[in-house]
């Protein structure tokens, strides 16, 4: 308790010892709660720990390093593939296909999902189609697409687009049709045309669910793309993994797997940022 405060008459009615006890309790609380930095460090303990145990076990002679490379072996191989190998080409091919296919699938899915929610005939027309095609595992369409579009990028892009389309349209439709009735009433009472309704009410009202669909679609797009690159491509990370299996280069296989992991991580972080930017009205 400062003398200044007492002089100013601001001294609370607490004795000195009370104050001390209070301060001690506060400090204790602070000590129990880990700081931000500590939490972040803790976050890294499990992955680093895993790599460390993996490395130590192999160095101690458990397992054959030709079949199970140590993290250090993978790191060395990674460096070589990145700067002296074809890794960047493969990354470029995969990212290009994923990105293009994703956009080609997601944009029409959003537009059609909103139209389905707004117009009954559109819904009746598309509902059975979606119900029939949605459950088909989309990789099953790969041979068909190869037949139609050949071995180039087009067949892979088309597969990603189809796989992305369904979760996005279903979520968009669900989001748009669950917009609270009051918002339709307000829009109608205030003279909104169908176009205004579509652009300013239905789209934004559905946006949280649209993003839920986009996140699911992101994961699916990598699954189908890598699977299709296994069998029907001469570039891409899927091809890299599959060809290294055929040549029994286990360390290169890991290079491919780790890279896909990184790309997925970056993509979902970007998606999160996009969502935060697009839906500022949802706190967090």
């Amino acid at each position: 308790m400062s003398v200044e405060a007492i002089k100013n008459g601001n001294a609370p009615l607490a004795s000195n010892s009370d104050k001390k006890a209070q301060a001690a309790r506060a400090a204790e609380r602070a000590a129990r709660k880990p700081s931000k930095l500590q939490e972040r460090l803790l976050y890294l303990v499990s992955p680093i720990g895993l790599l460390l145990v993996w490395q130590l076990l192999l160095m101690a002679g458990f397992g054959d390093r030709r079949f199970i490379p140590a993290p250090s072996d993978i790191a060395v191989r990674y460096y070589e593939e990145l700067f002296h190998g074809m890794l960047l080409t493969h990354i470029g091919a995969t990212v290009y296909r994923a990105f293009t296919g994703y956009l080609l699938g997601a944009i029409p899915a959003i537009a059609m999902g909103l139209l389905m929610a707004m117009f009954r005939p559109v819904r009746i027309f598309f509902d059975p189609l979606i119900a029939a095609i949605f459950p088909i595992p989309k990789v099953a369409l790969m041979p068909l697409l190869l037949l139609a579009l050949g071995f180039g990028d087009a067949s892979k892009i088309a597969l990603v687009a189809i796989a992305v389309f369904f979760p996005v349209i279903v979520n968009t439709y669900a989001g748009a049709s669950n917009i609270e009735k009051i918002y339709w009433d307000v829009a109608k009472n205030y003279g909104a045309s169908q176009w205004v309704m579509f652009r300013r009410i239905v789209f934004f009202g559905a946006l949280p669910m649209i993003f839920a669909g986009l996140r699911i679609a992101l994961a699916i797009s990598f699954i189908v793309l890598v699977a299709s690159e296994f069998v029907a491509s001469k570039t891409g990370l899927g091809y890299l993994i599959w060809s290294s299996w055929e040549l029994l280069q286990v360390d290169v296989m890991f290079v491919g797997i780790v890279t896909i992991g990184f790309i997925g991580l970056i993509a979902s972080a970007l998606m999160q940022e996009l969502q935060r930017w697009a839906i500022p009205w949802k706190a967090n």
Binding site: I182, V186, N189, Y190, L207
Partner: protein, 280 residues
Amino acid sequence: MSVVAPSERHPDGRPLSTERRGASVDIVNVSKVYGDGASQVVALDNINLSIAPGEFVCLVGPSGCGKSTLLRILAGLDYQTGGDINVDAQGWEVENAMVFQESGLFPWMDVETNVRFGLDTRGVPRSEAKQRVDDALKLVGLTRFRHHYPHQLSGGMRQRGAIARAFVTSPGMLLMDEPFAALDAQNRTILQAELVRIWEQTGKTVIYVTHSIEEALLLGTRTVIMTAQPGRIKTIIDVPFERPRDVVLLSASPEFGKMRLEIWRVLEEEVNRARAEMER
């Protein structure tokens, strides 16, 4: 042109008072029936009501008396199955604007965009819209919060935003569906006083649905008491309290208490009848 438009202001910036009155409404034999055959429900049974320009009419009644249905029909959100409604809103940009119970501000628009909504839909030019939104926000005291999203505002502030959104469109009448029902008592009193002030300044016709006799007497010039099953008008009571009205003072006055009691007697009879019917 709206009374909140700059050209129609006193030199001291206060909007011109009651020189122009709001819309007039003629409700003739209006009925609303849901379903048909044996499962038919009569929500409104032969409603007749004439509302003069600039009146503040409160519809009171138990739930299920059709007061909200009548309001929704007036708002163009529902249709009567019989009868006619004639609204004369000549000289006003739009016939009506509604203020909903839970504000209905779009969560994805900030306050300013929400208030501008009814102007955007009608193609009001940007610069004019901006001026009018500024005036409306000033009218309800939300200027500082214009860039906030609804979730960042209290319930009372959201309702102010909804009122601004209605006023900005320059409607002949304001339709209000229990707009303050979800607010706490203090905020309700403050907003009631504000609404009375704004109404006295602008002279718009207001039709206000509430289940509270007290609120109806505090705010309105007439109170329409409705009964349930079927929804009918039981009586219409002229509310004699002077203007300008101080809602806080008024609610503490003996005349107010006396009148409230009288109306409660009328309504009590009705509520008991409805209950007896249900238990039969």
